[in-house]
Symmetry: C2
């Protein structure tokens, strides 16, 4: 248990937009940590199909076709539905009701100042043609977090503005209620740095080059490793090579179990006499070994989808009850309880 | 039945923000028509508490304290819950789910172009500090209308942009579905002109001067009529007076049953020899008579609120079923049906 600096009994909410299968970047940055956290904390994972639609509404199959893929990815890497509640965002109407209520407490100017959203609007080339649902998605995330009364949110540092926005809403709600109804939440920053994309240009993601998915087959893994960015000045086997920025070594550092051996390889590479073909072969073997059992479990799960559907159904049912409780408390603050 | 130009079996949605008791302006502009429409059409009235909060979130009791007042107003003027379904917006989660889905189809730029919202933002002095929920309320209205698959929407001409926005969303949804799932709706413009405020400066509303509420007591009615704007140049009884812009005559035209008598009064007033005290006394008697039975029924209803609550509960229950059906169809278009 690496996260032993965390207090016992935290309520953790995490999740993924269901817009594609998960990849090694997700594993390193988040899934691995979730597997560790699930034994000692109350962890819920939200498959964010509604949020996935905020910039895919004109092509919704991108979302619908990936919902079960994502659940299969979770189970394949070791997330255990007996320990972690896995639920589907669109099955929890309380989340949308909270979003709607919170929308009255957040100004358009405030949303436009959100650095993460600003950056994404720029990346996606939305400008003013940004869908309303996209600009307002930080409100929806605040609804997700508070609906589970989550105290700890595993995030990348680019997501810190979301935590800030959530806590602003929490303080407004508590101030309207004149008592603490909702908990403020804290970020749990991942200890691993972001896994680079295979071309080394940015972090691994759907939009940057070809990510190595958790369900990749042998050929895809081989091709990905062979195309990896190394040291462009390392022209012959005999010449010395650079480790910094060399994606192969970053991946070896992350995935190879024998740290001493990787250290030895690095020294050899820097000295000269070690070819990229050799280091890539070692990495390939290591990744093949890492992904093989995950792919196997993933394929088994996807062959008969009824179990995945059952996992989502039972997690969503449990979460419906939980989120509805919080919704009723918030509706009460707004006086929307006269029929109860 | 005055609305005999309307096809049979229209589905009508109408409603009011629950931010204050209803007044004579509501009666003339809308409630009277609803009483007429309810016998021959499928009419639903939505008590819009959620929309009321879009600009009252920091003072939510404005909304919660008026929900039952508004229902009492409806029943007191003759809306019959056996003929008209009266439901409470916050009891219908399908409306918020539809709002969220539609939000992905409407850009911020489009919302900012809405002339009604533009005008309201200006009136309320919001500028960029406009709550997100307020800017996006036309999407929420589109959700309300389409959730009931309404075909005819009674509106004032200032609300026509809302119909336009709704039909844009309807066309997008139908185009995504590649078939007609939702109906486009048509406006039903009120045939009566807007009732002026008692000071003659604008239309009667909560924000313009003191409106004459449907529950006004005798003294309030008397004071309102006595303070009415007439003809400022009509200095003595003997001098001729003007009818145009004279609020007393506008109200007599609207509320007095004897058209010939009002015509005779007008001629006398224009000739000279008729004092404002006299015309006001006639108007006061007429309004006292008009409001007395409404106030009586309204007070009876508000003395025991359980009946009003029952009306809202049963209307909301019926509407839950109806709106959920539409929601499932729309979710289906977005592929959000894998757990069904």
């Amino acid at each position: 248990m690496k996260n032993n600096h965390i207090k016992q009994s935290e309520t953790i909410l995490t999740g993924d937009r269901a817009t594609g299968p998960l990849h090694l970047g997700h594993y390193v940055g988040s899934l691995k940590q979730r597997v560790e956290l699930q034994s000692n904390h109350k962890q819920t994972i939200l498959v964010a199909d509604m949020q996935g639609l905020t910039d895919n509404a004109n092509n919704p199959s991108i979302v619908s076709e990936n919902i079960l893929n994502v659940v299969a990815d979770y189970l394949a890497v070791g997330i255990d539905p007996k320990l972690t509640t896995i639920c589907l965002q669109s099955q929890l109407p309380a989340l949308t009701e909270l979003t709607m209520l919170y929308s009255n407490l957040v100004t358009i100017a405030r949303l436009e100042r959100n650095p993460t959203v600003k950056n994404e609007i720029h990346q996606k080339g939305f400008a003013r043609s940004i869908p309303a649902g996209f600009l307002t998605y930080p409100i929806s995330q605040a609804a997700d977090i508070t609906a589970f009364n989550a105290t700890l949110i595993p995030v990348g540092d680019d997501q810190l503005p979301m935590i800030e926005q959530t806590n602003e809403i929490v303080r407004k709600i508590n101030s309207l209620a004149k008592k603490r109804v909702l908990n403020e939440c804290r970020p749990l920053l991942s200890k691993s740095s972001r896994l680079p994309s295979t071309d080394g240009k940015s972090k691994m993601s759907k939009s940057n080059g070809k990510p190595i998915n958790l369900g990749s087959n042998e050929k895809e893994i081989r091709q990905a490793v062979r195309s990896m960015y190394t040291d462009p000045n390392h022209q012959s086997i005999d010449s010395p090579g650079r480790i910094a920025g060399n994606v192969v070594f970053t991946y070896l550092d992350t995935f190879h179990s024998d740290i001493a051996y990787v250290k030895q390889l690095k020294e050899h590479y820097q000295r000269g006499g070690l070819g990229d073909g050799y280091t890539k072969a070692i990495l390939e073997e290591c990744l093949q070994e890492f992904i093989r059992p995950i792919r196997k479990r993933r394929n088994e799960l996807l062959r008969d989808k009824s179990f995945l559907i059952e996992v989502l159904k039972s997690g969503s049912k449990k979460s419906q009850i939980e989120t509805k409780k919080v919704l009723l408390q918030v509706k009460d603050i707004f006086g929307l309880n006269i029929l109860n």
